[in-house]
Symmetry: C2
């Protein structure tokens, strides 16, 4: 999606020897809602024919884009909650997620009442890198007996293994901007 | 806002002897985006004439309503990040917030680059009870030299002291549903 690629080129900041892309001026701290609207519309163009019954994301920075996209799909939007608690009551589906950014493992959880067998779930997130968060969400949908119709992510770091691994497993992963390489001097898209 | 009051009556669940209101089927876990749109429109009706330059909320459950409202205001939406870290670099404004729900104190923080003197900031959140989160956001806007034009919250527990204390300090606080009392047998609005 050229609009997003141009914005990343203009306002993204590359840090830590090309390992970190900061997009907090428009995506995950300050948010450009007009841009989100274009992204939501694009997710609907890509997945609108899939009979999606729920959108599922994970807190916190996936919530905004999922909600804006939800306006086009006209279905409920669920955000999985993060918790470091191991004691979780029986009313939730839960999956462990390894955090590469912050280290350690956290749980994502969704109350059982919000996912049913037969649900056709589109996953939404802002970033795809190692794919750990999406795999957690995929596990949750499977536990509920639902089906993942795919995942729509804003930015994929295609030089990290998550996207490839998920596509090899047969999931349809659509990223609006796929970064093939980045360094202090510039950024390349696939 | 009758639409929201009716929804709380229908789908809200009161727990723990009338102290907890669960609205996670439509507001802060599963989200009814069409309802959020009506709430966003109402916040714009209330504050649209105030020359708002930024919307500010706090992760996670404030993000959705702030983003949807942001479409009407057509201004950037910022979410303050929560952190338990005490070591915060110099690039952020930060304020401590006491959590009554989870216990303990966390920090909310906003990167300095996103708030400037002259900004007219509307605070948005899903719940107002003790007012601790809003006071943290008010502190952050003050640190930046901006002005808080008011706060729009979805649900105020008016039997808890936050709203009254903030209004006494001169802040314009608009809640779309103000609960005067609740118990296992029912819920009353102001």
């Amino acid at each position: 999606m050229k609009l997003l690629e141009d914005r990343i080129r203009r306002d993204g900041k590359i840090r830590e020897n090309g390992t970190i892309l900061k997009v907090d001026s428009f995506l995950n701290h300050q948010m450009d809602v007009a841009l989100f609207n274009q992204m939501g519309k694009e997710f609907f163009r890509l997945f609108g024919g899939e009979g999606v019954t729920k959108l599922l994301t994970v807190e916190a920075s996936g919530i905004a884009v999922a909600c804006i996209a939800g306006q086009y799909f006209d279905v409920p939007v669920i955000f999985a909650k993060k918790s470091k608690t191991k004691n979780i009551d029986g009313g939730v589906y839960t999956a462990p997620v390894e955090s590469f950014t912050h280290g350690g493992v956290y749980n994502v959880m969704v109350a059982k009442e919000f996912l049913q067998p037969g649900d056709r779930v589109l996953l939404i997130d802002d970033f795809l890198a190692n794919g750990a968060a999406l795999e957690g969400l995929i596990s949750i949908v499977a536990q509920a007996g639902g089906e993942v119709v795919g995942a729509g992510v804003c930015i994929e770091k295609a030089f990290q293994p998550g996207g490839e691994r998920l596509r090899e497993k047969g999931f349809r992963i659509e990223a609006l901007a796929r970064i093939s390489s980045m360094s202090e001097t510039g950024i390349e898209f696939c």
